[in-house]
Amino acid sequence: MQTLKRDLVIIGGGPAGLSAAVSARENGCDDVLLLERDRILGGILNQCIHDGFGLHRFGEALTGPEYAQRYIDEYEKLKGDVLLETIVLNMDEQRNLLVSSRHGFTKIEAGAVILAMGCRERTAGAISLPGTRPAGIYTAGAAQNFINLQNIMVGKRVVIMGSGDIGLIMARRMTLEGARVEGVFEILPYASGLPRNIQQCLNDYDIPLHLSTSVVDIHGKERLTGVTVACMDETLKPIPGTERHVPCDTLLLSVGLIPENELSRAARIAMEPRTSGPQVDDTLMTSIPGVFSCGNVLHVHDLADWVSEEAALAGRSAVSYLEKNIAPPEKKIPISAGNGVRYVLPQTVSGLMDFTLSLRVASPSRNRVITVMDGGREVARKKIVRLHPAEMIHIKIKEEKISEADKLEVSVA
């Protein structure tokens, strides 16, 4: 088996990996290797043919493939190295990777690693959906792959379970391709996708969104013939008597995304239960020195633009690490999620640099203030008119505000 030594290895060539790779080259790393298991770079962006990407990064509305191409072109211009159709099978605590491709098995000893594997969709099995298992049940992303990349129609009469962004996008996509979308059924009292997608994908096409309603049974022995939906009480249990049958031949699931951290777990990286991603510091370094994490493998993002921004920081940090500019910091200031906050990233900061806090709130509300407190001292605050769990919130915090801090807590007040 061949063994290679590389300075920086980036696992995953989607929006996170591409941006991290470009950033690492721009910041002067000569030896960057980007590993991608697919035949082309871009990851999930390749099947996202709708627009709306790049509004923050480039100030224009691009499609997914166009957005990816900007980074691919940039990385090519910077003469970065890529291995396609290459999958990482394992990684250990010393940053040794076992890699497989049609050319063979290879061991790579990496000076630094950036984890950018993205996320996967929650399945019917993962939510223990009752009923039969006929053909016609897909995750929204798999259906998007079939329609947009393989020119295959998955069905004609569609129910969408869950109101995640991919489900909303697919409601519109299926409608445009001539399918009848019976509705989107969301178990929570509010949508989990972005408000702009509710407007542009559902309201503009008269597709009903049923809140506090979910699919409780599946019918059909061969192909799906229908589902039973029911209204939910506050504890998310079906309310007896509210069941109704919705005939359909297709059920698309958009019930959540799960960071794809099998490699991180194999390497025994410390994980954060709230995000299902690694715990990181303000450089996005994980519990293993020299291993960084960014994008949807770190926490599920709402916009690709924020993935790119976060990944650029991971790229810069990895270069600094390789140049020995960042040793693991002596001081680690923990940051915790307080009242009304679902999660906050990073989990610790050094107090030695400016950083951006990423967080999501636990429930929708209006006209609130997000506060960052160091004990009784207010470090930062941000007024927000409309707060929604679907939208990530970012707060920039200056080094001088936290250099003396003991521990930080982020709350909705």
Binding site: R37, F146, Q150, I152, R223
Partner: protein, 486 residues
Amino acid sequence: MTNFYDVIIIGAGVVGNAIARELSRFDIKAAVIERELDVGGGTSSRNSGVVHSGIHYKPGTLRAKLNVQGNAMMGNLCKELKVKIEYLGKLTVAQDETDVETLHSLKAQGDANGVPGLAILNKQQMEKLQPGIGGIMALHSPSTGIICPYGLTIALAENACANGVHFYLGQEVTAISRTEKGFEVKTTSGERFESRVLINSAGLYSDAICRMLGIDEYRIYPCRGEYLILDKRLAGTLSLLVYPAPHKGGAGLGIHLTNTVDGNILIGPSNEYVDEADDYACTAEILSLLKKEGHDLLPGISAADFIRNFSGLRAKQAPPSEGGFRDFVIESRKDIPGFINLVGIESPGLTSAPAIGLMVRDMVEKLLPLPFKASFIAEREGRAGFFYELSPEERADLVAENPDYGEVVCRCEQITRKEVLDAIQNPLGVKTINGIKYRSRAMMGRCQGGFCLPRIVQILEKEFGYKPEDYLLQHAHSPLFAGRVR
């Protein structure tokens, strides 16, 4: 057109295929007719995958005899057929004094049945085998094992097929009539078959086959068991099988945790009589009950560890009012010479299958001469287990030989393109997506095909010329797709 055979077997479950494989040693013409598009689509692929020891059955019954005999045969059979099996052993655990009595009577029964190595263990001895285990006393049965049930069913069929048995899949038997020489069988395909010997191993439909020949004395009551499959993250939690002591009148062996040979854990099965022999639904009530059991039995478990649910049906002869078990019916009918009838082969049918194969062979031998066939090949090609289970060095060598081993199609289970291609080009010619899944293990991981199904569809289109309408999930009317995007 009529197809003439010496022996026709109805039903390609593990029992039918074990009989077919046994008969393929002899120089006769044999065929298997199956209503589903693949073998093992019923009870054989939907169970705990346990090779039972034989402690649970009354001495002198067919279930006791065939279970113990089948258990002893299974190791060698799996070696020949390249099927994974592990004799892990099992603890049947007592919680109170009533249970302890049950353990003692189970041990006496097991000893009488010839089950090897049974021992009653105290708490300390139990702890040694399974640290942290509850209960006050246990019966240890070292010969209990685990096996991949559909893997065995497929392997038996493929080996029988390689030895000349014809498989007719996707043909449901619609009528049987007696002829001068034996039987005429009609199927939904319009084809007609004639045979001298006819074997009914139709499982959940065995009573329906009986009725086609005017036998009205049997009725099958499908009894559903639901299961949850747990993530491989929990593999290694259990070093052997742990069952509760059985309680009187139960139709199954109680909800328990079972390791699978592929590293998952199953929670189940429940027990519920249903009306239809193909009602494989799961119910919210039982799934939440199983989850509760899971949390009780495995404290480290989280919501994300439940990756899939499924249900199977027991082909029970005992009606709901009676409960419990009845013995297997395996008979060569005197009133209908040439008709060998198997009814009510529920648990331990999987374990007993090899022994049933021998028993039915003896019955056939009384009806037909069975000359040995010199060309019989007992060994199935390939290796037991999957590519990912080999060492990195072995895998590296295989990739160098065949680059298709280097391309991972199913990332969760690390199943390669070579394994997927092998599954697509299976010897029985099965073309369903579930056929590929059961053979390759692709789509069985935590993403349940979200990542690899689109890739497998692409392979089928590019390499095998599939059109959107050609993709079937499992059944004849289970199309995956509605056509091309307009």
